[in-house]
């Protein structure tokens, strides 16, 4: 059943690759323009639950990877769909998916705050967790946590090294 689903997706949507892992994980890589259409397609196929939206900083390729994970409420299909897209790291912009899945709202807010991705059409991209602004969004790989904490809190000398 899942193999047929994959063949149908690859036939319907252009610029899309995918494969199924043995333990019910369907990985799909696509382009960012196709995401809303693809999410709507899955929603109609009863994969109507957005488990999470995540982001990975691929600094070597100079891209940000956005990941949507979809599952189903039906009990007899444990398939997890992992949908991946890559967007530019310098000008990260993406359409919001709130019209399709309402619970994407805090996830997109979090990714905006921690990775600096702008979601076009999001109703409130206000800070969620952090209290101050950072030059580099803190969850990106070029934000050095240790250097930041040394600058902010000063380094504490080891016992005996005070002189």
């Amino acid at each position: 059943m899942n193999k047929e689903l994959l063949t149908e997706i690859l036939a319907t949507f252009k610029k899309t690759q995918g494969y199924i892992e043995k333990d019910n994980r369907l990985f799909i890589e696509t382009k960012k323009e196709i995401v809303p259409a693809l999410l709507k397609y899955f929603k109609d196929k009863s994969f109507d639950r957005l488990a999470m939206v995540s982001c990975v900083d691929r600094i070597n390729e100079n891209k940000l990877e956005i990941i949507y994970i979809l599952t189903s409420f039906c009990l007899d299909n444990p398939l997890n769909i992992i949908l991946k897209i890559k967007i530019s790291r310098n000008e990260p912009e993406l359409d919001t998916v709130i019209p399709i899945f309402e619970n994407a709202e805090p996830y997109e807010r979090e990714i905006h705050e921690l990775f600096g991705v702008d979601f076009i059409g999001h109703p409130r991209l206000t800070p969620l967790f952090l209290e101050r602004e950072y030059e580099i969004p803190p969850f990106r790989k070029d934000f050095d946590m240790r250097k930041y904490s040394e600058e902010l809190f000063d380094s504490v000398p080891f016992v005996g090294d005070e002189k």
Binding site: R25, M52, S54, F73, P78, I82, N103, F139, M145
Partner: protein, 365 residues
């Protein structure tokens, strides 16, 4: 009537945990609500990128204060999947028993918070006492009461000590013997019914639309449980029911908490009888020289509050490249709570929030 802004939490008597809600109220009625997390944001997911695979265990369990064990489990499962490690059968049984004990402990803590908020102080103290004797079991098994760091990739840290099986049975019997008392004073009490019935109700369509998991979803009549949908550990070898209710309100959610505890106790008895002998840990490489092949995975377990997922990425090094936890309270606290509070009464805010089982450290991470 004039609209006022009211800050509910983090220093508020009705608030459990480091969380706050900004309410717009007209008289007693809530017009708008905005969840305001971040009081406990420690950036664990970033910190994990600086520590080796084994060093991360003390971090992941601190993400959730009241039930750290499912966090350990989901992280261990992800590492095992990426590194292709097998787990001995006895270790899988021990893990399941350990997770079910943790579920009872967590539910008793939740019951303490809920009963305390409603003013049933006696029931709250009973629940706290019973959680404490479960923590005694954990102390004997792992050496720690709250953060156990017991599950390791490839199994568990140590086998059951001598006579531990009998101790579990004895403890669970003494808790189970008090179920009639709990029922008489709390669950079948008219006061609880009047106070919780039709409070914070969500329909089945809304639960699906907002992506609810755990008790809020099962209270609307959908028997969705990861232990059944995608069994891990030994949940496919043992029989158990998934309790559901139809009303979707606070009353149904709390009754499901009780039913799940009873179901867990029965499950532990069955698992103890079926437990095989054998090894409990498959050796893993030296933790300081342990590189895990490149890849990514999404694993999920059923924690006491619903689906808990972890998206873990490895770049072939000795540290995770990225970890992202999908915690059940995240959607409950930031999406459903805001929707349900609209139109509710100020006196029901704590009631709704605790019955949705919102745990603040899990949201902030």
């Amino acid at each position: 009537m004039r609209e006022l802004e009211l800050y509910f939490g983090p220093q508020h008597l009705g608030m459990v945990g480091n969380f706050s809600i900004t309410l717009s109220v007209e008289g007693d009625k809530i017009v708008n609500a905005a969840s305001n997390p971040g009081y406990l944001h420690r950036g664990f997911e970033k910190l994990m990128e600086y520590r080796t695979w084994s060093q991360n265990f003390p971090l992941v369990c601190r993400i959730n204060v009241i039930e750290p064990d499912s966090m350990e489990m989901v992280y261990a499962m992800a590492v095992e999947k990426l590194a292709n490690i097998e787990v001995p059968e006895r270790a899988e049984f021990i893990r399941s028993i350990y997770l079910e004990l943790a579920r009872i402990g967590s539910h008793l803590f939740g019951l303490w918070a809920y009963a305390n908020m409603l003013g049933f102080d006696t029931v709250a103290q009973w629940a706290m006492y019973h959680r404490d004797i479960i923590l005694d079991l954990f102390e004997e098994l792992t050496g720690a009461r709250v953060y156990h760091i017991y599950i390791n990739p490839g199994g568990v840290r140590r086998d059951f000590p001598k006579g531990f099986k009998e101790k579990i049975v004895k403890t669970l019997h003494s808790i189970g013997g008090c179920v009639p008392d709990y029922n008489n004073t709390f669950f079948e009490n008219r006061l609880f019914y009047e106070r919780a019935h039709r409070i914070g109700a969500i329909s089945q369509e809304e639960a699906i639309k907002y992506g609810a998991v755990g008790q809020p979803l099962r209270a609307t009549g959908i028997a969705h449980d990861i232990r059944k949908v995608e069994p891990y550990a030994v949940y496919d070898k043992v029989e158990f029911d998934v309790p559901i209710r139809e009303n979707g309100d606070a009353h149904s959610r709390i009754l499901i908490v009780r039913d799940e505890m009873i179901e867990s106790v029965h499950m532990i008895f069955k698992l103890l009888d079926m437990m095989p002998e054998g090894e409990v840990w498959n050796r893993t490489p030296n933790p300081f020289k342990w590189n895990i092949p490149e890849g990514e995975c999404y694993v999920r377990v059923e924690s006491s509050r619903g689906e808990l997922g972890l998206y873990l990425v490895s770049d072939g090094g000795d540290k995770p490249y990225r970890a992202h936890f999908r915690t059940p309270s995240y959607t409950h606290g930031l999406v459903i709570l805001e929707k349900v509070l609209r139109g509710a009464n100020i006196s029901d805010v704590g009631n709704i929030m605790i019955s949705l089982y919102v745990i603040a450290p899990e949201i902030d991470r």
